[in-house]
């Protein structure tokens, strides 16, 4: 910003600084990682003291669905990464289409998650339900954590989807260009984080056999 007395401070908080936005995004991702980190610690400890129960409960989860969802998320990670490449190369249309593809993946993920959750809830496994209350020691914790962690993760998927929606809108309006694509980049970072967390959730809940 220019000063009344006619000089410009070389580095200014009011200037556009793409690197700063990216750094801010990374730092934010760290906090997200540790947010889940707390839950992973809970998971670890409870698994340690309820070893067998966790093992037994994990058989209740549907590996096929989990695997499909993993694949969906990985593909979506690729599409959004490609979308950044596209915008960098100035290919606005392709970039938007790839974002749509990512959005579609997010929706598929949520739909599958919906079916998974509803079948669990149908069995009365949601915390507070009768069947849940009657579970043997330790198994209840497994499902509690399952719902808490995948629920929080799903919340992140929704937020990510909204962000991607915003990027699509702004790209279409021409506010994101091959010169100014920080927004797409940051949305990409966020989306990858969602993927990262799932990469750990998947084996911890579905595959520990």
């Amino acid at each position: 910003m220019e000063h009344a007395s006619g000089f410009v401070l070389p580095n200014s908080g009011h200037n556009r600084d793409a690197e700063a936005s990216k750094m801010g995004m990374w730092l934010f991702l760290f906090t997200e990682l540790l947010l889940f980190g707390g839950l992973f610690i809970v998971y670890m400890v409870y698994r340690m003291i309820n070893h067998e129960a966790f093992l037994l409960s994990s058989f209740e989860l549907d590996v096929t669905m989990g695997t499909i969802n993993t694949v969906v998320l990985l593909v979506s990670s690729m599409t959004i990464a490609m979308s950044i490449t596209a915008i960098q190369k100035g290919n606005i249309k392709l970039s938007v289409n790839l974002l749509y593809a990512t959005l579609a993946a997010a929706i598929i993920f949520m739909v599958i998650k919906y079916f998974e959750w509803s079948s669990k809830i149908h069995h009365g496994l949601f915390p507070g339900m009768d069947y849940y209350e009657s579970l043997p020691k330790g198994e209840g914790l497994f499902f509690y954590l399952y719902f808490f962690m995948t629920g929080l993760h799903a919340l992140h998927i929704i937020i990510g989807a909204v962000i991607i929606g915003v990027v699509i809108y702004r790209t279409k309006k021409g506010l994101v260009t091959s010169e100014k694509y920080t927004l797409t980049e940051n949305a990409g970072l966020y989306w990858h984080l969602v993927d990262l967390i799932w990469i750990y959730l998947f084996p911890l809940f579905y595959l520990i056999h």
């Binding site: 910003m1 000063h3 009344a4 007395s5 006619g6 000089f7 401070l9 070389p10 580095n11 200014s12 908080g13 009011h14 600084d17 690197e19 700063a20 750094m23 801010g24 730092l27 934010f28 760290f30 906090t31 997200e32 990682l33 540790l34 947010l35 889940f36 980190g37 707390g38 839950l39 610690i41 809970v42 400890v45 409870y46 003291i49 309820n50 129960a53 915390p127 507070g128 849940y132 209350e133 020691k137 330790g138 198994e139 209840g140 914790l141 509690y144 808490f148």
Partner: protein
């Protein structure tokens, strides 16, 4: 480059409430924090006085047991989450970090405003428990499960408030880190950065990387209170001690969120008033990072009697002692900075000296708590209460007051009455020690904390302590009164650099212009405290 400035200062320009609460100017946001903080501090302090009155004599005096329990919880929550954690970074960090770095704002000015709003929302939530729901929580600020899950008071709201406040803290930290990385003026390398900036840098990392853990932990408590399945309930395979682990994984590092910025303030005050370069710049800068880092791994010292394993106690105790070393390094370097200086004794320096003295007592009592044998006896007694008031109030609180007196002329372009300020300081110092030293004695005698009533043998220390609280109260009122009077009535214009300071904020006008500088800031030749080659500052 103009010599006479035509810039408006940040207090002029837009007027009116909205121009403040929606301002993205880091200086205005800093002051918004200041006013909010002082308000909450006064609420917290009044609760403190009430507790002391109740504890003046054994037996019931003026409060019900339940009320007392709610009061100390609210006192703790206000003091920790609303006052001391934001205090120095949010007020002085916001105001001075960009100026000290030679830039015009933080990296994300709007995010900065958002942090303040989140802070206010969190604060309103915390205080709303006074009016709505079933009254403020009665769990202690630690919210230990399973009691916090069982009690009928409004724990949910208090916990949600702490959660929201955590966000504010995270965003401020994030903003500062990026600002420090991106916006230093050319020529100011990391090793030429003022030590206050270093301290904030280390603090910000703790805010960023520790706060999420408490966020999620508190969410678990909320979920517990809604679904009531017993995440920490042993009968279904849970473990109440796990809650404590998670809580302290955040809350121990959090005590360094409180302490490090205060260290930064002291590192600014001493060279200014000794008119010489600081002793051991690098040692002080890096020890902040060391404290921040080691501080992550010693949370277990709050749980020595919880039934942790022997190995756990061993490891946490030894690591706790390690954290004393970087702190020791700082203290020694500070004292050495006074050596062969040319010392000007002004109010801020007095606060700095009192800080060193009181923080040492706080730190040494910390060592007694960190040793296994003694902690078994002292854990959860008034010794701990004495310890943390010494470090938090005697340390950070005094540093905060010192900073307030140091930067008062810069922030408002006015000057307070030095005599009154010194008198207030003396009262605060005497009152403080009369209030808290007897608590250490009571603790050694075995008086547990969070006690509404106590056995007659603890009467004497409690009585002295309550007397101390009155002296302290008088000192505090005098100090605030003096500053408020100066704010409204002072005619004295302190000029750019009343203390002969060297960091960049002293090169600009008092109060600073909207853009922070009215001329290009000039860095001293060799590092930030190079008083030998101090740039001349024309009015």
């Amino acid at each position: 480059m103009a010599t006479v400035s035509t810039d408006l200062n940040y207090l002029q320009g837009k007027k009116g409430l909205f121009s403040w609460i929606f301002s993205v100017d880091h200086k205005r946001i800093g002051l918004l924090y200041l006013y909010a903080l002082i308000t909450f501090f006064l609420v917290g302090v009044t609760l403190g006085i009430l507790m002391r009155l109740e504890l003046l004599n054994p037996g019931k005096d003026l409060l019900e047991a339940q009320t007392y329990n709610q009061i100390f919880t609210l006192h703790g929550v206000i003091m920790i989450f609303l006052f001391i954690i934001p205090s120095i970074p949010a007020v002085f960090g916001n105001f001075f970090l960009p100026i000290m770095l030679g830039t015009d704002d933080v990296s994300f000015p709007r995010l900065n405003l958002l942090s303040w709003w989140i802070y206010i929302i969190g604060a309103i939530m915390a205080l709303s428990t006074l009016i709505f729901g079933d009254g403020p929580a009665d769990t202690g600020w630690t919210f230990y499960a399973p009691y916090s899950v069982k009690t009928g008071t409004n724990v949910t709201m208090s916990v949600l408030a702490a959660f929201v406040l955590g966000f504010s803290s995270i965003l401020t930290g994030l903003n500062f880190i990026v600002t420090i990385h991106r916006l230093r003026t050319p020529g100011m390398t990391f090793l030429k950065m003022p030590l206050f900036a270093w301290a904030l840098y280390a603090t910000s990392w703790i805010q960023l990387l520790a706060t999420p853990i408490i966020g999620i932990t508190l969410m678990m408590i909320v979920a517990e209170r809604f679904f009531g399945v017993g995440l920490f309930d042993p009968s279904i395979g849970g473990d109440p001690i796990l809650y404590q682990h998670l809580f302290w994984i955040y809350s121990h590092p959090a005590v360094y969120i409180m302490a490090l910025p205060a260290f930064g303030i002291i590192s600014e005050l001493l060279p200014t008033f000794a008119r010489r370069t600081i002793f051991g710049y690098k040692a002080i800068a890096f020890s902040s990072l060391a404290i921040a880092f080691v501080g992550y791994f010693i949370w277990g010292h709050h749980m020595f009697t919880s039934g942790m394993s022997g190995t756990g106690r061993f490891i946490f105790s030894i690591l706790t002692f390690l954290v004393a070393i970087p702190t020791a390094i700082k203290v020694f370097n500070w004292v050495a900075t006074l050596y062969k200086g040319s010392i000007h004794v002004h109010t801020p320096l007095l606060y700095a000296l009192a800080f060193i003295f009181q923080f040492m007592i706080g730190g040494f009592t910390g060592l007694l708590l960190g040793a296994l044998a003694t902690d078994i006896h002292l854990h959860d007694t008034y010794f701990v209460v004495g310890h943390f008031h010494y470090v938090m109030f005697g340390g950070t609180g005094f540093a905060f007051f010192g900073a307030l007196h140091y930067w008062f002329p810069k922030i408002w372009g006015k000057m307070y009455n030095a005599k009154v300020a010194n008198t207030a300081f003396t009262l605060l110092f005497i009152g403080f020690n009369t209030l808290y030293f007897p608590m250490l004695i009571a603790g050694l005698m075995g008086m547990p904390r969070r006690y509404y009533d106590y056995l007659p043998e603890f009467h004497l220390p409690n009585m002295i302590s309550t007397f101390g609280s009155w002296i302290l109260a008088v000192g505090l009122i005098l100090m605030l009164g003096n500053l408020i009077y100066a704010y409204f009535k002072s005619k004295e214009k302190p000029g750019r650099n009343p203390w002969g300071g060297i960091t960049l904020e002293w090169q600009t006008q008092s109060p600073p212009p909207v853009q922070n500088f009215d001329r290009m800031p000039e860095l001293p030749k060799n590092g930030p405290y190079d008083f030998e080659h101090k740039p001349t500052i024309k009015e």
